[in-house]
């Protein structure tokens, strides 16, 4: 009985408190993504990055950060659609591993001319992969927490409306 009451109060609390957990997770994901972004480009690889992909990459990062921030505000206010956006952003972060980092990791450094020296070293590749994976996990978790809390809140509100 006491447990039920506690659970009920917990649900009722959702009506007046924000989903700070999801919001904080997304902000953390932005921070981790920033760590990835500032460490991806190496200067000792000649003109490897000097093509349209660098522009697209920079643009994507800016858009990602903006959308992720808006998503954090959305999930904070229990907007279901933003929870899905958060999950999609997380999946895209995983996909990014196979675009710039994986390619660079498999391309020899044109400045050295050795088949063993890659544009992106193994160490750097691990670092950026961890950053992208971590931000992906944070975004997906934020989305799942958001969906769960929003569903609970919506159901509870519907229950209250029925009672009235």
């Amino acid at each position: 009985m006491a447990e039920n009451k506690e659970a009920l109060i917990k649900k009722d609390r959702l009506r007046f408190t924000k989903n700070k957990m999801s919001s904080t997770l997304i902000i953390l994901a932005i921070v981790v993504n920033a760590l990835y972004f500032v460490s991806i480009y190496r200067t000792d690889v000649g003109t490897y990055y000097y093509n349209i992909t660098i522009g697209a990459s920079v643009l994507y990062n800016l858009i990602f950060m903006l959308v992720a921030f808006l998503t954090s505000e959305g999930v904070k206010n229990y907007k279901m659609s933003y929870s899905y956006v958060s999950i999609v952003l997380g999946i895209l972060q995983i996909a990014r591993i196979f675009y710039l980092p994986a390619e660079a990791h498999n391309t020899p450094n044109p400045m050295v001319g050795s088949e063993n020296e890659m544009v992106m070293s193994g160490e750097q590749f691990t670092y950026v992969t961890v950053c992208l994976c971590l931000s992906a996990v944070l975004l997906v978790c934020a989305g799942i927490v958001g969906i769960m809390k929003t569903t609970t809140l919506n159901n509870y509100k519907a229950e209250l409306e029925k009672k009235q």
């Binding site: 109060i9 917990k10 009722d12 609390r13 009506r15 007046f16 408190t17």
Partner: protein, 353 residues
Amino acid sequence: MSDLKLQHLEKVYDNNVKAVYDFNLDVHDGELIVLVGPSGCGKSTTLRMVAGLEDISSGKLIIDGRDVTQMPPKDRDIAMVFQNYALYGHMTVYENMAFSLMLRKENKNEIHQKVLAAAEILDLTSQLNKKPAQLSGGQRQRVAMGRAIVRTPKVFLFDEPLSNLDAKLRSSTRREILLLHKRLNATMLYVTHDQTEALTLADRIVCMSMGHVQQIGTPLELYDTPANLFVAGFIGLPPMNLFDVEIKDGKAVCTEFTTELTAQEKEMLAGYEGRTVTMGVRPENAVPGGDITVQVISNENLGQNTLVNGTVGKHKITCKFRDWCSYKYGDTVKVSFNKKHFFDKETTNAIRA
């Protein structure tokens, strides 16, 4: 809730300005005490000393039998409501009310229950998700009160909480504070310069002037038997009419009029024969009919009553008549005084039997 003792409290600022002199007061459990006085009289300083926002220069402050004189504000278990509400603009009403409890790391479910209960008392349930900017002045003040209520402190302190509200809202919020006091049976210390608030809210009033306590008593005591000229002039709206009169042969003689003294007044003023004293008459005690001629200056109809401002010779006088009157400038009205107060001219203290 608990009792509060202020023993010989004094406040001297660093520049040697003394703001409060020898303040003594016992506030009983569940009592609402109003500190009233003009600006600069030391009432807010006294309240801030109780809150711990000002150091106590000398004296003792005891809350519920515990000497808290040197304790920091957070350990005194008191809650203060400020004139400017002091709400966090970026937080919702719910968050504002819950904030102090969250800082104390109380259980979130308990905080929730306390906030909902306070919101229910203050009729704020429907406003819990709003931010202060979306609320009216009265609602903001209720939020500030709610923030105090959720803490269930030993003593509530109010520092002119209604001063920022318009007249109508002030009246309704005043009623709410009174209801809140009855409902919580809380010990409250309330500061105001508005004597109407003091008279309507207080169980007891402490009237202050220039850092000194002038009188402590029930609203009726202060109104009916003021201790001195200051209290007589400050409490009551319009203020008491004051005349310098000479006590002569059982009469109070003024240059413009003479009024008979009652047997009780004669006995009371026996030691003042031939001396000049100050006679005070409340506006409602100047009644139509009699032999004192008032030259009318203005006539203010208040609905049930009429305030007639005029002069008796060189003295200004305000009479409060029960009926709707239509006197014009220059008219004369004959009045008499059905109750008089007398004050010693030198000490300004009330003359009592």
